[in-house]
């Protein structure tokens, strides 16, 4: 669908783009570029799974960027539509030049509002009329990503807010044996809070008390999504995958 679907850097993008007259199609629209930035950000969050603990500042900034894009796309109403076109998994192959995104909003206001976006809008409205249930799906797909997104931090650090070292270890081992995805919740359900207030204190093992849930969760199979042709499910697929990888780290 993209005339030039290859990743193009901003450095060499400008001259090419402006030189091509016939290539109106060759200029990725703001919407597509925004999608590309979203995809890039999601890939970056996935790549946070490293041997060394990921840089929290970087992760927070990328997550905030993802949230910004999601919010804007939600307001545009394009959140749903974009994902009908997506093939599911974010991949670097689909990244397009995000040249327009580099410009400030002032520049954008002056220039180039997006013909393709206008088309999207019309189609979307058309679909809306036809299929009321689509709206519900849209709403939930918007909600769920946000929850999953935020669940990233929750799951990564839930153990900090909950208690007993020995008890949690037992639960982890229990969960490992069960190997059921739902056990993730069981893992965090019953522990008490008092212990983790001590994580600002300093002796021995109390401080390094983020549990090895990365280990335990690695053995979980990824949450299965059944109806993969459903729009919101494909979207959920992406974010589930990310949550899983982030929690692993």
């Amino acid at each position: 669908v993209f005339v030039r679907g290859l990743k193009r850097k901003c450095f060499d993008g400008e001259e090419d783009i402006e030189g091509t007259l016939a290539g109106i199609k060759a200029i990725p629209s703001y919407t597509l570029q925004r999608q590309s930035l979203l995809d890039m950000s999601l890939v970056k969050l996935q790549l946070c799974h490293m041997l060394v603990e990921p840089n929290l500042c970087r992760s927070v900034l990328i997550a905030n960027t993802v949230r910004q894009i999601q919010e804007e796309m939600t307001q545009d109403g394009t959140w749903q539509m974009i994902n009908t076109q997506s093939t599911g998994q974010a991949s670097l192959d689909r990244l397009v030049s995000t040249d327009i995104l580099c410009r400030s909003s002032r520049d954008q206001a002056e220039g180039k509002h997006v013909p393709a976006y206008g088309t999207f809008n019309k189609d979307f409205e058309g679909d809306q009329a036809q299929d009321g249930s689509e709206t519900m799906a849209t709403a939930s797909s918007v909600q769920t990503p946000r929850n999953l997104q935020s669940n990233v931090w929750e799951m990564e650090n839930a153990q900090e807010n909950k208690g007993n070292f020995q008890k949690s270890l037992d639960q982890i081992f229990e969960t490992l044996e069960n190997k059921s995805p739902n056990s993730v919740e069981d893992l965090f359900s019953e522990v008490d809070n008092s212990y983790y207030d001590l994580d600002t204190m300093l002796t021995g093992m109390m401080s390094n008390t983020k549990m090895g849930h990365c280990d335990s969760l690695e053995t979980f199979s990824s949450p299965t999504n059944t109806a993969s042709n459903s729009n919101c499910k494909s979207d959920l697929n992406d974010l589930d995958h990310i949550v899983e990888i982030l929690v692993e780290s």
């Binding site: 060394v52 603990e53 900034l61 580099c102 600002t200 093992m205 390094n208």
Partner: protein, 449 residues
């Protein structure tokens, strides 16, 4: 007007003095310098690297025979400060990389410094030994024990001169207090306490006590899903031991007074510049994230570094900085590429000169920039082997933004983003600067007349 050394940019010509490190084209990761710091007199210059080592250089005494040498820095001590560790609970490595070194003011013959990696702060004592005792009764000169029954005469050991030996010993280890990665340490002006800051918390330590610290700032939300902001840097006020500042990833600075409450979650002052709505983009927040904050020597100002600018704030004015300097604004149109290759997350530091009249920070392509606050002049210089002839004057560099490129200029697209100057240091009283370029340490001085 003449306000002392370094205040008029056109009068200061920077010359190459020394470079430390190998010339090999392949850089060993562990040799990458991660922090640079002069001590309070400028006699010593410490570097830390990714391999956990600390190298201390000492300035040689100036000799009347060689006035042009102006006191070169030579290796004084090298030691392994931190080792790689493995956190078994999280199945993650703890890097040995030295994030920061801070010197304590000298109070006796020994030198003390704090060095930290992501998790553990250590107090090191660096001392000289130039005498050793000789003439023990119970052991001979080689150290072998003598048979007591063979001793017929007793003698008193005497101290005899020996070749100078510099020893570094860890005197304190401050561990297990940080769940997140330590980004800053700062010695208090009382010289009895210091603080260590990680992404979400700041702890106050007493130098004598290693098994306890006070948590003075905690921005960790009760619900981690609400986390949107982290602490990026922190520093004590140079004179007021109750005051410190910390910066955030949202471009804000908070000044706190420890006298008001045990937990300084409420700031006494909040510094933030209103966003320019016409400049807003998806990258606005990322480039506003502050990577370094430094008090001026006078204690009246703070300087902050974000991705594209350096700002000077007056402590008495919270709503905007009094000065803003563009470091490399030509990168503004490249932010998406810099986001893609992660360069947008590079953390540049900034430093004041001794009189607070000039500020310096690094950039890409081994460029670093200086801004004279009085004359408003700025200069771009480069740390490179090509300019490394002794006492060679550094030629100002210029980045060409568009259109025609002049002969000596370099175009934005030709910049090498792998050559970044993140760490620099300025001698406390003289025009001597240390610039870390990956695995090399450059020392520049102003031209001696």
């Amino acid at each position: 007007f003449l306000a002392g050394f370094g205040s008029l940019m056109q009068d200061v010509l920077w010359c190459f003095s020394q470079v430390k490190g190998t010339i090999d084209t392949g850089v060993t990761e562990s040799d990458i310098i991660s922090t640079v710091e002069f001590n309070h007199t400028g006699e010593l210059l410490a570097t830390g690297d990714k391999g956990g080592r600390v190298v201390i250089f000492q300035r040689e005494q100036e000799s009347k025979n060689q006035p042009h040498r102006r006191g070169e820095y030579n290796v004084y001590s090298t030691f392994q400060s931190h080792e790689p560790e493995f956190d078994y609970l999280k199945s993650l490595e703890i890097e040995e990389k030295i994030n920061k070194i801070r010197w304590l003011p000298q109070q006796n013959a020994a030198y003390f410094l704090l060095s930290t990696n992501d998790k553990t702060v250590k107090l090191w004592k660096v001392s000289e030994r130039d005498k050793r005792p000789e003439g023990y009764n119970l052991k001979d000169e080689d150290g072998r024990l003598r048979d007591p029954s063979m001793i017929t005469v007793l003698r008193v050991p005497v101290l005899r001169p020996m070749d100078l030996m510099v020893e570094a010993t860890p005197r304190r280890v401050f561990a297990n207090a940080h769940t997140y990665h330590i980004n800053s340490i700062s010695v208090n002006s009382d010289y009895e306490t210091y603080m260590s800051a990680d992404d979400l918390r700041i702890n106050l330590w007493n130098f004598e006590i290693t098994n306890q610290s006070f948590n003075i700032v905690d921005i960790k939300p009760a619900n981690m899903e609400e986390l949107t902001e982290v602490i990026t840097a922190a520093e004590f006020h140079p004179h007021h031991c109750n005051t410190f500042v910390y910066s955030s990833s949202k471009g804000t600075i908070r000044l706190c007074d420890m006298r008001t409450a045990a937990l300084c979650d409420r700031h006494a002052k909040f510094f933030e510049e209103p966003e320019d709505p016409s400049n807003r983009s998806f990258f606005s927040e990322i480039i506003s994230s502050i990577s370094d904050v430094k008090f001026s020597h006078s204690g009246r100002y703070i300087m902050t570094r974000d991705y594209l600018t350096v700002k000077v704030w007056d402590l008495n004015m919270e709503n905007r900085p009094i000065e803003t300097y563009q470091v490399h604004d030509y990168l503004r149109s490249k932010l998406c590429s810099l986001y893609e290759n992660d360069c947008i997350f590079d953390k540049f530091e900034c430093v004041w000169n001794g009189s607070d009249s000039v500020i310096m920070t690094g950039s890409y392509n081994n460029f670093f920039r200086m801004f004279d606050r009085n004359t408003k002049r700025d200069v771009t210089l480069e740390a490179s082997r090509e300019n490394s002839k002794p006492r060679a004057i550094l030629k100002p560099r210029k980045v060409c933004v568009g259109g025609k490129r002049r002969k000596d200029e370099i175009s934005v697209d030709s910049l090498d983003f792998s050559k970044k100057i993140l760490h620099t240091a300025w001698h406390p009283s003289e025009n001597i600067i240390a610039v870390a370029a990956t695995n090399n340490l450059y020392i520049f001085q102003d031209k001696v007349n």
